[in-house]
Amino acid sequence: MSSLTPAFILDIGLLAMLVMVAIAVVRLRSLFAIVMLQGVYSLISAAWFVSLDAVDVAFTEAAVGAGISTVLMLGAMLLTEREVKPVPMRRQWAPLFIVVVTGMAMFYALGDMPMFGDANSIANATLGVEYVEATKSQIIIPNVVSAVLASYRGYDTFGETVVIFVAGLGIVLLLGLNGNAGRWRAKPNGQDISQIDEQDIS
């Protein structure tokens, strides 16, 4: 990747778009724009995943990140507010300092990262190759990602499924499938207890 191949130019272009969208998310104050830009960010990163051979991930990111999470955020935005109140500049210096220091630490560690596209790096040369080779004779399905996901790392995927189930359960408990969680009032003997409570409090 030392010369300017078309793939590298595509890479630079998509990354530049990602950086611009991320900075716009930080600077904007309209929640609607922020939420839509988050969807754009997911979509661009899905395109970037395709250029990096991760087709399954790109598919998921386009469906989930750009589709579902945008719908969810729009729904939550409709239930809450449309504008972000401005944060005074004096309260942004400390976060900026922390972020810059963290970023410097990560740049310091950059030299230890494997070279981009290096087939012999530790990350790429060991387990991934083994999975590809073993799938050819043990699982015998073309899509290695599905094979690893469902078979070699079945425990992992089971755990993820349970996490999704628990998240759904949490949503049902917090908001209710019909949107009535937390609004239900007990009425023993036809007497509305909550009315008495609220009068007491206020």
Binding site: L31, S45, V129, D156, I171, G182
Partner: protein, 151 residues
């Protein structure tokens, strides 16, 4: 200069991560915080996928000829070990590393599930406090505590 080329993706991904982190730290609006968290999360995905790329590699979807016993292609292999050896010796196609793909694939779906939990909490907070700005919620809690002490 070569180091910049070799690590260009990682450097940009670090910038993206820090932008997301700044949105989490600096904004006081809860939904904007969650969007920042989402940007941060997507940047971590970018880092992982960036590592898994192999130059000249192909997406990890095997061609049928490489699969032994798949759809009648199994002419030679009786023992799985024999098939394994012949394949690994004749393999020429390079594939990108599938393992980070698997990890990130599940992480994306779990990410949206946890994002939904966070948004549900924001909605409930708004219903209770009438605001999703942290300053106003803090002020309300402070006032509530004072009134509780004087009562």
């Amino acid at each position: 200069m070569t180091m910049v080329f070799e690590h260009f993706n990682f450097a940009v991904v670090i910038v993206l991560m820090m932008t997301g982190l700044f949105a989490v730290f600096a904004s006081h609006n809860m939904i904007k915080k969650l969007v920042g968290l989402s940007v941060f999360q997507t940047s971590v995905f970018l880092l992982y996928i960036s590592i898994s790329k192999v130059t000249g590699g192909r997406p990890p979807v095997l061609s049928k000829k490489e699969l032994h016993g798949y759809g009648g292609y199994d002419k030679a292999g009786d023992g799985a070990d024999a098939a394994y050896k012949t394949v690994s010796e004749t393999a020429e196609i390079i594939y990108s590393n599938p393992l980070p793909h698997v990890l990130i694939l599940t992480a994306i779906v779990v990410g949206v599930a946890t994002l939904a939990i966070g948004l549900a909490l924001v909605v409930r907070t708004r219903e209770e406090y009438g605001s999703i700005e942290e300053d106003e919620i803090d002020a309300y809690n402070y006032q509530d505590n004072l009134e509780g002490a004087s009562r």
